[in-house]
């Protein structure tokens, strides 16, 4: 019996020829990533208590994104501690206010196929788009990794999700994920691996693939994974991380999968998830016309350059409706620069968007832009649990950047396909 890609990576990290789903193995960690919220401020006291040092500072990446820029004394203190800790511990791979960790990590060339990576954030599986096994852990476990350089894993099974065909104009990876959340539920991934494949996936850009792996968490998977190909190799090379051989990290043809699901992209309409769960997603037809107060383009899920471009495609030459706020927090500083130089940013700003710093922002209720009581928001983020983005009576709908932009223009939940067919809005 052959091995899946995930099994191959885990076996390599465990120093084994092979592994079987269900067995518990100890793996050596190739890379540990943490941010300002769950990182230094939480691991520092544990390392001090243990009297231990970081096992290998060159395998640690720290990225400030949750409390940036500081909004009050508490967040300033958290960032101050983060900045001092990396210096004290010799961690040179520190990206301060450069963007959201899941975007900055591959952008700066830290991800390559075959790596076994832990991240101190639940959306760490975003990096699975690069063919590495990367999953989220909490701060205590991160402290354990920092001391020992290893962690345990119960070898997961792999659920294969094949998508064939191509997406209609105005439909994107976010719609794919919302549809999967509705279909599989928030625990359909069962803490196993979700691996995406098929002709649609092959045709997608790395950033769209990142959206798929990012939201594998919303399916309850331990991680999402996409086998590397020439698109992966081109991204990694452009990020300055050299050449990779995509054929080196592939699952075997006779590997065993927990199940294989197949979907057709061509018939997928834009999706919108009702408050308060991504699993409450459905075709946009059911929700058109629902009034909104805030349209939010942000987070690791929905504010990458590809997402900003989608929003700009809809917003170019149009105006945000009166009474609606459009907030945009680009996923990284580098992407903001690209968006500025190519005109994407201008399209957003001229339409009425208010730009926010690159960071987690309003998504988790940490930063600027949170909601008042009873307000209604449509957001390109991944989660809409009660109270997450502000007041507990606020209602958050989840959708693609296309749909968020279309809704901002209309002042109510709107189908972005109408903006692509030339129909009047």
């Amino acid at each position: 019996m052959g091995l899946t890609l995930a099994e191959k990576i885990i076996a390599r990290a465990a120093g084994r020829e092979t592994v079987c789903p269900g067995e518990i193995v100890i793996c050596k960690v190739d890379l540990a990533m943490m941010h300002d919220s769950g990182g230094p401020r939480r691991v520092k006291p544990i390392l001090e208590r243990l009297g231990a040092k970081v096992w290998d500072p060159d395998k640690v990446v720290v990225i400030s994104d949750h409390y940036v820029p500081a909004t009050d004394a508490e967040s300033a203190a958290i960032l101050d501690l983060t900045r001092k800790w990396v210096v004290e511990n010799g961690v040179e791979r520190f990206y301060d206010m450069q963007g959201i960790c899941h975007i900055v990590l591959p952008e700066r060339g830290h991800l390559r196929p075959g790596l076994f990576v832990v991240g101190g954030d639940s959306h760490s599986p975003t990096g699975g788009a690069f063919g590495c096994f990367i999953f989220g852990i909490g701060a205590t476990e991160m402290a354990g990794v920092l001391v020992t350089g290893e962690t345990w894993i119960r070898v997961p099974e792999t659920i294969r999700i094949d998508w064939s065909g191509s997406l209609a104009p105005g439909v994107c990876a976010k719609d794919v994920m919302l549809a999967l959340c509705a279909r599989l539920g928030m625990d359909g991934g069962n803490y196993q691996v979700v691996q995406y494949s098929g002709s649609l996936i092959s045709a997608l850009s790395m950033q769209e693939r990142m959206t798929l792996c990012n939201m594998a968490v919303e399916l309850g998977a331990q991680t999402g994974l996409i086998a590397p190909d020439d698109t992966t190799a081109a991204y990694i090379s452009a990020a300055g991380s050299g050449t990779i051989d995509p054929t080196e990290w592939q699952g075997d043809d006779d590997a065993a999968y927990r199940e294989t699901l197949a979907f057709d992209a061509a018939s997928l309409p834009p999706q919108v998830a009702l408050p308060h769960s991504p699993a409450k997603a459905g075709p946009i037809e059911d929700l058109r016309g629902e009034r909104i107060d805030l349209a939010y383009i942000g987070s690791c899920t929905g504010a990458k350059l590809a997402d900003l471009r989608m929003a700009a495609q809809v917003l170019k030459g149009r105006q945000v409706a009166k009474g609606v706020r459009l907030l945009v927090a680009p996923a990284s500083r580098r992407e903001t620069a690209t968006a500025a130089s190519e005109g994407t940013l201008a399209a957003l700003i001229e339409a009425g968007a208010v730009m926010m710093p690159s960071g987690c922002g309003a998504c988790a209720g940490y930063g600027f832009g949170v909601l008042a009581e009873h307000e209604v928001c449509i957001s390109s983020t991944a989660r809409n649990s009660k109270g997450r983005m502000g007041a507990r009576t606020a209602r958050v709908y989840l959708a693609s950047p296309y749909t968020v932009a279309a809704s901002a223009v209309a002042g109510a939940i709107s189908d972005p396909r109408e903006f692509f067919s030339g129909a009047a809005v």
């Binding site: 208590r49 954030d121 852990i137 909490g138 476990e141 928030m186 649990s385 109270g387």
Partner: protein, 172 residues
């Protein structure tokens, strides 16, 4: 390791980390985060839960974020054990790392709020003293049970490092 009986607090499916440790309070001390634990679905919980009480839930308890304050808040409030039909994988790891016993119990639907619950993880069973019923629970893997008994990953590592240093000093 039989735990003394505690009173059951019953919740549904998909109770997430945003509910257990609301983002709004994440930069505050644990006392304050804990005060808001689950307030959006049960405002009485954080003020009325007593040391030794038991949290009962359906599927996918603790789904969502990696923030381990979700488990830490329950520990802070004195919750002795969580019984759920399944867990968010991250929460499950976090809880055990912090020394909070979390058991997979397929029959939590039979437990009502206020029932007196005792668990016997080694024997793989949960006893409902109020209803005089017994339910099976899945055993926690041995290496994790050892860690929970030690009080979590940090005391576990502390012991291990101390033993390693003593050994090294002895050899030296």
């Amino acid at each position: 390791m039989t735990q003394s009986a505690g009173k059951a607090w019953v919740f549904g499916n998909d109770i997430g980390t945003d509910l257990l440790a609301p983002g709004l309070y994440m930069k505050r001390p644990m006392e304050e985060i804990a005060r808001h634990c689950l307030e959006d679905i049960d405002p009485r919980f954080a003020t009325e839960v007593e040391r030794g009480d038991v949290v009962i839930a359906g599927r996918n308890f603790g789904m969502g974020s990696s923030r381990e304050q979700a488990a830490e808040a329950l520990i802070h409030l004195g919750v002795s054990v969580v019984l759920a039909q399944s867990y968010g994988g991250l929460f499950y790891r976090n809880a055990l790392n912090l020394g909070l016993l979390v058991l997979i119990c397929p029959e939590t639907g039979k437990i009502d709020a206020g029932d007196r619950i005792a668990v016997e993880p080694e024997r793989g069973r949960v006893r409902n003293l109020t209803k005089n019923e017994t339910y099976p629970c899945e055993p926690v893997p041995a290496h994790l049970m050892e860690m929970v008994r030690a009080g979590g990953l940090v005391p576990f590592l502390e012991r291990k490092l101390k033993a390693g240093r003593a050994l090294a000093a002895g050899i030296g």
